[in-house]
């Protein structure tokens, strides 16, 4: 393309000029549509960020544009209100991710690498859980949590989240583990390695990317859940971030500014996690499609 010299007569011919004009027009229309869509996509967030920096009086007077002075104390106010929700949510999510990764990788290793009796039956027993909608379990789990005395405790969130995440994690990890080359394991077996050693020293180190994806999915799910914490938690000190946000009304100052500031702050943890895991994120997008 670059080598080719452009024939002057070609570009100057009226037909071609018209075609080029048409192409340009279509090209700019193309961009215009995309930019409009981008604008619409970002508009609510743009408004939220704007509002988070205003007092209520500023909001009434100047709705659409930034108003000065910026009310940065809105963020201080919001932070004081929601930081403990962020801590609670982190505890829950970390607990759930750890639990799911540990249990599911052990089970997946057994399914993929150990030839034991009733293996297929057990495997399908786990997989069939993918068909059970979470809403069916809501009542049963709630009663369990009540019976175990885990109401209003973060364990009442972590344990069911682990159970809820295992099936899909086993599905993904088993696929991955069974694709690992058999020679690695054969060699280890020759050296007298136990299954636990092989799991720890071969399977786990090789499966970091897929573990990251499983972890990310579990994290996002437990972080974003609303209904289950609503059922289990009662006191504000224990609220997760999502529950806290839904009941968060600016405590001392007139609404909206601190409220929106709270929403902005609440978006930061997930943003950090997702950006840190950007590389595996595209993969997660595909994997997430299974759900």
């Amino acid at each position: 393309m670059t080598e080719q010299t452009v024939d002057p007569s070609f570009t100057s011919s009226p037909d071609a000029a018209q075609a080029e004009l048409g192409a340009r027009f279509i090209g700019s229309l193309h961009h215009a549509v995309l930019l409009l869509l981008l604008f619409l996509t970002f508009f609510p967030f743009f408004i939220a960020i704007l509002t988070s920096l205003k007092s209520f009086q500023q909001l009434l007077v100047n709705f659409w544009l930034p108003a000065f002075p910026l009310q940065l104390q809105n963020y201080v106010m919001a932070w004081n209100e929601i930081y403990r929700f962020i801590i609670n949510s982190s505890l829950v999510s970390i607990g759930a991710v750890t639990g799911v990764l540990l249990c599911a990788s052990l089970a997946a290793y057994a399914f993929a690498r150990i030839d034991f009796a009733w293996r297929d039956a057990a495997y399908y027993l786990v997989l069939s859980l993918l068909m059970i909608p979470a809403v069916l379990n809501l009542i049963g789990r709630y009663l369990l949590i009540v019976q175990f005395g885990l109401m209003n405790s973060l364990w009442g969130l972590i344990l069911p989240y682990i159970a809820g995440g295992i099936a899909f994690a086993v599905f993904l990890l088993t696929g991955f583990f069974s694709d690992l080359p058999e020679e690695l394991f054969e060699a280890a077996r020759m050296d007298g390695g136990t299954e636990l050693q092989m799991y720890r020293l071969i399977a786990l180190p090789l499966s970091r990317p897929i573990m990251a994806i499983v972890g990310l999915l579990t994290f996002l799910q437990s972080w974003g859940d609303y209904v289950w914490p609503l059922l289990v938690l009662r006191s504000k000190e224990k609220f997760t971030l999502m529950l806290g946000l839904a009941t968060f009304t600016g405590n001392s100052q007139v609404m909206f500014g601190p409220l929106m500031a709270g929403y902005v702050i609440a978006s930061i943890p997930t943003a950090i996690i997702i950006i840190l895991m950007m590389r595996t994120f595209a993969g997660a997008a595909l994997v997430g499609a299974f759900k």
Binding site: H30, V33, L34, L37, L38, L40, P44, F45, I47, T51, L60, F63, L102, L106, A107, Y109, I114, D115, F116, R119, A122, L129, M131, V135, L136, N137, L138, I139, G140, R141, Y142, L144, V146, I162, A163, G164, A167, L196, W223, G224, Y226, V227, L231, M242, L245, A246, F256, L259, M260, Y263, S267, T270, A271, G283, A285, L286, G288, A289, F290, K291
Partner: protein
């Protein structure tokens, strides 16, 4: 692995083989123990507890009276359930369109010429995904605020001189479903866009080049080449959406709690309210089981009439 009989005697070989198999089974059992412990307690037990109790008038704690299939009969005749199902139908149509429509945007981005521009558009469209869903909902609640001074939408209408269009968007029975469907317009950022875009990227370059040589215009190429080639992605999104729609009610719970009156009630919300506000766990369980059956049947049907998305996507992931 098979039983070794190489140079040992037949008896001892068998014995050793059995012992080894036993040990393998024991190891596997220990590996599986934590998983099945969790699943037995928090998945199998609640599921069967709930299915069993659909046959009871049951408040979960003290009232537990066998009523046979009365709950199912009640549900079939419950006007609430009729309304909820009808509303679900509207949500179903609307959300299905919402989830499929990013395909067009994916096409628009994919057809840009410069890789760098493509990259930026793609990243920007996906960027709002970092915002938790609940935050998006709360911001949209702010947009729909009924007061003309505060609601973004009402204020916008006001500044265009359309005061008579200002209304309480979420408390008009005739508008509420539409308002709920318009949440997060234009519905681009999300898994569907990424899946569609990834699907388009999987189309071999030779096919695209050939289409250019054959003089296909963009529209023809989209209809004849892109859609057939990414149809698995579309199925994938459709199935995922279908399952999600039937059971998700948190969105409606937060936005309107099913109101005004019952204008935005959905079955999941009815379950939630019957079970946890009304202490009618048996009836709630019945709705849950029905939803499970509906999802099960729809999933089976979609497996029957489409290529299995599971196998297809696995292959694309590995390439």
């Amino acid at each position: 692995m098979s039983v070794q009989t190489a140079d040992a005697g037949l008896d001892s070989g068998l014995w050793r083989g059995r012992r080894r198999a036993l040990r393998r089974n024991l190891t596997a059992f220990l590996f599986l123990l934590p998983t099945f412990l969790f699943l037995a307690i928090f998945m199998y037990q609640p599921t069967f507890n709930v299915i069993y109790h659909t046959l009871f008038r049951w408040d979960g704690f003290t009232v537990e009276r066998f009523v046979g299939f009365k709950n199912y009969v009640t549900m079939v005749n419950d006007p609430n359930m009729h309304i909820a199902t009808r509303n679900l139908g509207w949500f179903f149509l609307g959300w299905m369109l919402q989830r499929i429509s990013p395909f067009l945007v994916a096409e628009l981005v994919f057809n840009l010429k410069r890789e760098r521009t493509k990259y930026w558009y793609r990243t920007l469209f996906v960027l709002p995904m970092v915002v938790p869903f609940l935050v998006t909902i709360m911001i949209w609640k702010f947009i729909y605020n009924p007061l003309p001074t505060i609601g973004v939408l009402n204020r916008m209408l006001g500044s265009f001189g359309l005061e008579e269009w200002q209304t309480a968007w979420l408390s008009e029975p005739s508008l509420v479903i539409l308002a709920l469907l318009l949440v997060s317009f234009p519905w681009i950022s999300g898994w569907p866009f990424m899946i569609f875009y990834a699907g388009l990227q999987q189309i071999p370059n030779e096919v695209l080049d050939a289409s250019v040589i054959d003089g296909c215009n963009v529209w023809q190429r989209m209809v004849r080449i892109d859609i057939p080639l990414v149809v698995t992605s579309i199925q994938l999104v459709a199935i995922q959406t279908m399952i999600g729609i039937i059971q998700d009610f948190a969105f409606v719970l937060i936005m309107t709690a099913g109101g005004p009156a019952k204008a935005s009630l959905v079955p999941g919300l009815l379950l939630f309210m019957a079970a946890f506000r009304g202490d009618q766990m048996g009836y709630g369980a019945t709705i849950g089981v029905t939803m499970f059956i509906a999802i099960f049947i729809l999933t089976l049907l979609s497996f029957r009439y489409t290529t299995s998305p599971f196998t297809r996507t696995r292959r694309t992931r590995e390439t």
